[in-house]
Structure formats: structure tokens, C-alpha cells
Symmetry: C2
Subunit: 347 residues, 2 copies
Amino acid sequence: MRREVTLRDVAELAGVSSRTVSNVVNGYANVTEHTRERVQRAVEQLGYRPNVLARNLAQGRSGQIAVVVPYLDTPYFSELLQSVIRAARISGYNVLIDQTDGDPEHERAFIAHGSRRLLFDGIIFSPLGLDQQALADRDPDLPLVILGERSSDGTFDHVGIDDVAASRQATEHLLDLGRQRIAAIGDQPYATGEAAQRRTQGFREAHAARGLTPREDLIISTPRFNRPDGARAMAHLLDLPEPPDAVFCYSDLVALGAIRTLVSRGLRVPEDVAVIGYDDIEDGRFSNPTISTISPDKEMIATTAVERLLLRITSATPPEGLEVRAPHRLIVRESTAGRAAGTASPR
Amino acid sequence: MRREVTLRDVAELAGVSSRTVSNVVNGYANVTEHTRERVQRAVEQLGYRPNVLARNLAQGRSGQIAVVVPYLDTPYFSELLQSVIRAARISGYNVLIDQTDGDPEHERAFIAHGSRRLLFDGIIFSPLGLDQQALADRDPDLPLVILGERSSDGTFDHVGIDDVAASRQATEHLLDLGRQRIAAIGDQPYATGEAAQRRTQGFREAHAARGLTPREDLIISTPRFNRPDGARAMAHLLDLPEPPDAVFCYSDLVALGAIRTLVSRGLRVPEDVAVIGYDDIEDGRFSNPTISTISPDKEMIATTAVERLLLRITSATPPEGLEVRAPHRLIVRESTAGRAAGTASPR
DNA sequence: CTACGCTTTTGCAGCGCTGCAAAGCAAAGC
DNA sequence: GCTTTGCTTTGCAGCGCTGCAAAAGCGTAG
């Protein structure tokens, strides 16, 4: 591989110092038009391209942010990532992606010692099962923004929707339909299942507000929030002596799996069992039936997360920990409202 | 921010040279057990973490590979990415992700001057509309592996399945069902639509092999391969005087969109219209009906792509351009075979 | 006791860039 | 004419690490 063109080469050709070339390349102020042109010409003539590595070392930053999600192939995350990448790019940052496969150890390792010093300037983290302890052990110098609801100790930001309220709203929608036995799929009654537990809480609150108590055997735990889990859980529910007539699923994927089981058993959605999901992924707008869901403002979550992270990275004194609550709304589609709610070209 | 611990700090504490510390940290040979222990202790005591940036500069490589895809939220790509990231990580490489939004200019820019010198050591590229010209203009020093079928000029590798054969196979399956008027959704009859055109070719070949000629008005072009495109195209087909009784969709997303339109118009799949997709994304295994499809060996595509790229990166003399053809197979599910093919828990 | 070959350790230059502070320089002020 | 002011350009050190080649140590052979 032939030697690459360096600043010095350009400087020599243009007859200026390498520092001046650097100034031109970086668009710094106070360079006369005449000099700028000469340098510019030399840059083009030699095909100079800055060496990002050297710049990074000199500046002590990498210009990269890491985004860590449990699973990349979960539509919710890939949709979110898409917006994160766009937002980061606008500010000149590259995005390094990592998936933890939901492994708590992997998550912990990522946040704790940040062994890869300077590989990224900050991190947007969507933990699946990160407990408070792991958060406390984290590298305090690494700017951090957490996706999803989570109480902050003030040293990082988090961005998410109000899970409890959203879940209550979803459950209320099912209650409003007059359903009697409403199931919930997705609970995770252990330390790392905080997000799931907040949804269960909303589920209970909705019942309580009407003087009802949900039947405990209709609250089903699942290890993940994916289609197979949803399908399995639904099968289990249908085998109960008194199966539910409505289901609140903790993700759209779970809902898709549940619906799959219902349909394959010859049950009608929503006539026999109404289903509502969570996340508003594109699948739910084209599935049969289309899925009613809780729609978080993903674009806002993504841009806010990036914005806050960059603020943390660039500001000399770390800003206070912010808990950003992004808006969400209930979207009613066929899986609860029936065909009346559907159209040939779903939005 | 307090100063970080450097090699020199560790060296001082351990009473050795910084070069020796480097040797220990990197596990180089020829360090006595005694020295190694002393250094190790010092490393731990000070909490030393190597500065990746400095290492990168000194080594002249970044330890990162870029993966460029058109859209991150397309399940096919996110499923593929997942495997790519795993494979790269095993070899100690980080993955930088970028999406081009299918914009040919963006794609061209990425491959052409590679303006970000040394930000990544190589690139795995899944172009949507990259013509031969753009490929010819590319930075010849940047190791490159292309995903998807594409004839190589010998300076890069590409990995993909045999699109023509796979498409012929999919079409033959529909013909075997006795369908008379088979439509195709996803053609792209312009320079950047090579991938689509190969599928159309397979579609035609299947017909030709039986002495048939497909009806031209049943070959529908779409700008992308997504759900809305599929839904729209299907609506158009149904409005024809003689609508099709089977559809070959150039992606599973297109198939999902098409099925959505069919179902919402009260048509039965596959009784009224059989549908087959392409890609075998998870959605298709849980949709109603489940989707028959062409299943490329994604795991193999991903690992082969990484393997070849790393080979290019590390080998002194560039290896010959390889055209790797990954295996694929036809998977028959409900959308062509009816409920008989479905089960409560799809695989 | 010196020479030799081998392993282990060291010193130094340098990767290519930017931060910093000083130098140069032209126009303006006294 | 000489100093001051403000803009432009420069020189140099150094970011923290690794490549290279030489030096040091050490056991064995002559």
C-alpha cells in the first residue's frame, strides 16, 4: 500500500506550514482568501484526505457514539436506531452499534469499565436487565443516556415514555370494549424486569380504577418480548379453563405472536379475543388484523437521546441528570376495533 | 476530567519500560512470568485501560469495519447485521453502521472517495442502486465486500444467493400449484435495479421453461421493496380486468403488504390468490397467513462476508475477487399451500 | 574466562494531527 | 519614524501507543 498524503505534503506543495493547511481543512477562521485557495488547490491536486485516527488522538475524542441495544433485529430498536443514526450524523458523529443479546453480564461489562477507552465519546444504552447496582458501578466519566424509563441518580439522562400510564391506557381501552377477562403477556417478575413490571403496574391500575382485580393466572411472564414468546403464552392462555377475551401484550411482536396462535386455532380477532400491543412497529400496520397499540414518539426519543448525549459530551461541567418523558398515544386498529377500523392502505 | 492512566504511568509503578508494559497488555510472547505479574499488578492497581485511539494511530488501522445498508429498519438487513456484528466481534472488530436511504448519491459517496480515511479498515456494502460506473470509481485501497449478486471486476468479493435460480424456483412453485395468471411485484427496469431485474429474469425463465409467456401487465414495478409498495401494487393488480391468481413478491415485506391488501378486500390467501415472498424474515413465519418464501442462508452470507473482508484487510497481497454463492431454499407455508401447511407454533 | 546464541527488555522515533503561544506582518495611531 | 493593534501564519510539543533494532541478561559451549 503506497504512502498516504499527509498534511505536510500538502503544506510543502502549497508553500505554507502544515498548521495552516490544517486550518484550511478544518475551516478555521482567519485564513486569507489567497492562502485558502492555494491550499485548497494543493489538497485537490494531491487528493489529500485527513487521517481521522490522528485527528482523534490529537483531540482526545473519537467522534463516535455507541448505541447498545439488546437485539438488533427487533423492529422497535431498528426503527429507533435509524433515527439515532440520522441525528448523530447531522452533528458529525458516527455510530457504533452493539447488541448485548439481553445478556446482563454483557450489559454490565459495557457500562461498567468501558474497557475500550476513547473508542466512543458517549453511549446510548437501551438496557434490558440492568439493575441499579450495575448502573452505580458504571464508568462515571462516560457520558450516558439511557433509553426507557428508569430513575436516574442524576449522573445520566434517560428518555422514554411513561410506561405505567401508557399501559393503563391500553388496558382501559380493552375494558372500555366491555371485555371481562383481560390477560397480560410479558411480565418479568424479577430484578431485571423493571420495564415489564411497570407495564404490569399500569395493567393493574386500570383494573383498580374500576374496582376490578385482574386474575393472577392471566398475567403471563415471558423471557423476551418477541413473536415466539407471544405465540407460546397465548397457547397457554387458550388452554386455561376460562381463557381470556382480551390480551394486553407488552410489545407488538408479542401481539403478533399471540394473534398468530389465535388465528391458527380458528379464533377471531377481535371478536373472540381482542389484542393490543405496544411500540407501534410497522408490522402492526400491515398485519392481519392490524394491531392496536401504544405508539411512542420514536423520532423524539431518538433525537432527544442524541441531543442530550452530545450535550454531555461537549459541556465542560456535566449537566444535571434529566428524565425526559416522550409523548405516546393509543392507536386503535383492527385487533381491538374490528374491520371497521381497517382500510386497504393502512397508515 | 482527570488525566487518564497511560502506559508510562504503569511502567513507572512496575519499574519496567513502557514498551514492556505494552508487551504484557497485548499478550506478546517473551515476557517472563515474574515481569508479567508485576506489570499486571500495576495495571490493576492504577486501573489502566489502553487508549484505543493511540493504538490505532500507531498501528495505522482502526479495528473497525463499516457496514452500509440501504435501510436499517428492513428486517432482512437487521437480521443480517446481527450476524455480521457477531462475526466481526469474534475477530475483535467493531462495526460502524450506516444507512444510505437507498440514495445512489450517498452510496456513491461512500464507496468512491471514502473521505473518512482510516475510520474503518474495510467495508461491507449492500448497495441498492450502485451501477458499475460507481463501482469502477471506488477507492481501490479500501477492502470491499458487496452483499447481493453482482459481477465482480476482481478487486472485491461479493456474497449473495443465485437470484435468478431462486426466483425461477419461486415462480415454478406457483406454476406447480396450477396457477394461470401469475403476477410479479418488485421489478425495477432501470440502471440501478439490477437485483430486481434478476428476479424478473427468473420469473420469465420459469414461464419459458413451460412454454408460457408471462403477461407484461402483471409485472409491477415498485420503487422499494417494502410493505406500502406491496400493498399499493396489489391494489393496482386487483383493479385490473383480469386480476392474477398468484403473486411472486420480490421481498417478504412486499408480500406482507400485498397480503394485507388481499385480506382487507375480502380475498382469501391462497385460495383466491397465492403469494410467495423472498428473504425469509421472521415476520413471514408469524403472519396470517404465514408466507412461503425463498430463504437465503443469512448466517452464511454474514459470516462469509466478514471472513472475506478480514482476509482482504490482513493479507499483504489482495486476494482474487471471489463470487460467493450462498445456498437458498424454497420454504412452503400457508400463503401458497393453505392452512394445511401451518401449525400453531411456526418454526 | 571469553564467546556465542538465545530470550527478555529497552530506547527511541514516529504515526498525523491539533493546542498553544509566539512570531510575522500590515495598517493605524502618536 | 516608531509604536501599537489586530489579523494571519508558524513552530513545536505532544496525544499514547507500537515498530524496529539495539542492548542487556543469561545459560552453555569452547
